[in-house]
């Protein structure tokens, strides 16, 4: 038992040292509520059959509610991505609204959002 304790004491710092890089990304508190956004982006490519636009919309609409409860803003690109998923589903009014939301939250997106809004007008 005593030997075991010694080993544990020796090993613990090593384990912590080894684990430190795992938490490197989590040190600073988040500005944004991330929810499913990254999973959705990954899923579109890794599991395209499971992450159809309707699934993306469902997951991201959930995130919008949860972000409000968490009192955190949604991340850059979130509203644009959701708008694009609405566009793919033919829900053009909602797509329009989300592209405008992206522009309002992040004016840096204006040139690209205006281009996507222009494409909606042609539909």
């Amino acid at each position: 038992m005593e030997t075991g304790t010694t080993v544990n004491t020796l090993k613990l710092p090593l384990i912590l040292l080894a684990a430190a890089p795992l938490f490197a990304g989590c040190q600073s508190p988040n500005i944004y509520y991330w929810g499913n956004y990254e999973k959705v982006v990954y899923g579109i490519y890794a599991h395209p059959d499971k992450f159809l636009p309707e699934v993306q919309v469902q997951k991201m609409e959930e995130d919008m509610h949860k972000a409000v409860s968490a009192h955190k803003p949604l991340p850059p690109g979130f509203h644009a991505h959701l708008g694009y998923a609405y566009f793919q589903l033919g829900k053009l009014d909602l797509a329009h609204q989300e592209f405008e939301n992206e522009k309002r939250q992040f004016p840096e997106s204006a040139v690209f959002m205006d281009r996507l809004l222009g494409n909606l007008e042609k539909k």
């Binding site: 384990i15 080894a18 684990a19 430190a20 890089p21 795992l22 490197a24 990304g25 600073s28 508190p29 988040n30 500005i31 944004y32 991330w34 956004y37 990254e38 959705v40 982006v41 990954y42 579109i44 490519y45 890794a46 991340p75 850059p76 690109g77 979130f78 644009a80 991505h81 694009y84 992040f106 840096e108 997106s109 204006a110 040139v111 690209f112 281009r115 996507l116």
Partner: protein, 209 residues
Amino acid sequence: MKTRFLFPCALALTLTGCVAPYDYTNFRAHPPRSLLVLAPLNESTDVRGTYGYLSGVTRPLAEMGFYVFPVAVVDQFMKENGMPTAGEMHQIPLNKISDVFGADAVLYLTVKQYGSKYQVITSTTTVAAEGKLTDVRTGVTLWEGKAIVQQSSSSGNALADLVVVVVDQAINSSTDQAHNLAPQVNAQMFMTKDHGLLDGPYLPKEKPQ
């Protein structure tokens, strides 16, 4: 005790750790607000490298205070406009990027290594990447960096390793283990002091708790 045997031993190597701090003269002269992240070139042997890595890039950059264009929408938009591969996207002239996206800077990424290798009783997953940030208006390089993260299933206990490797191989055949390391690679590449990016405009001066 059992859980500890299964705890993966992570080994992070900071390639830039022992050289002089990055020269941020250009970055400070043209501090970007918005970053356009293009699909990375993939030099690894795993086709999943491109998007398994790309999907983990937005978060660290946004949390450092930059506007990051929606990576999947940008990728889809380019494909619809005649640029189906990352190689073609990386060739787009900067004035075109300015016209279409209005981005301040473009981040060109390359996945150097991505995936798992199996030795007799261990498996090692490696992700390595390089990045270059270019100012859209002037074409000057604002920043360059690289990072590599390796994770081994070895615990130093042969019997436990045998159990781990059997479990690993069962999981590895269907899952993309390297994808889980992408956040660490990006944290290392973008957030390491004196070698990563400088803070973006949305980073609060007083960090939220």
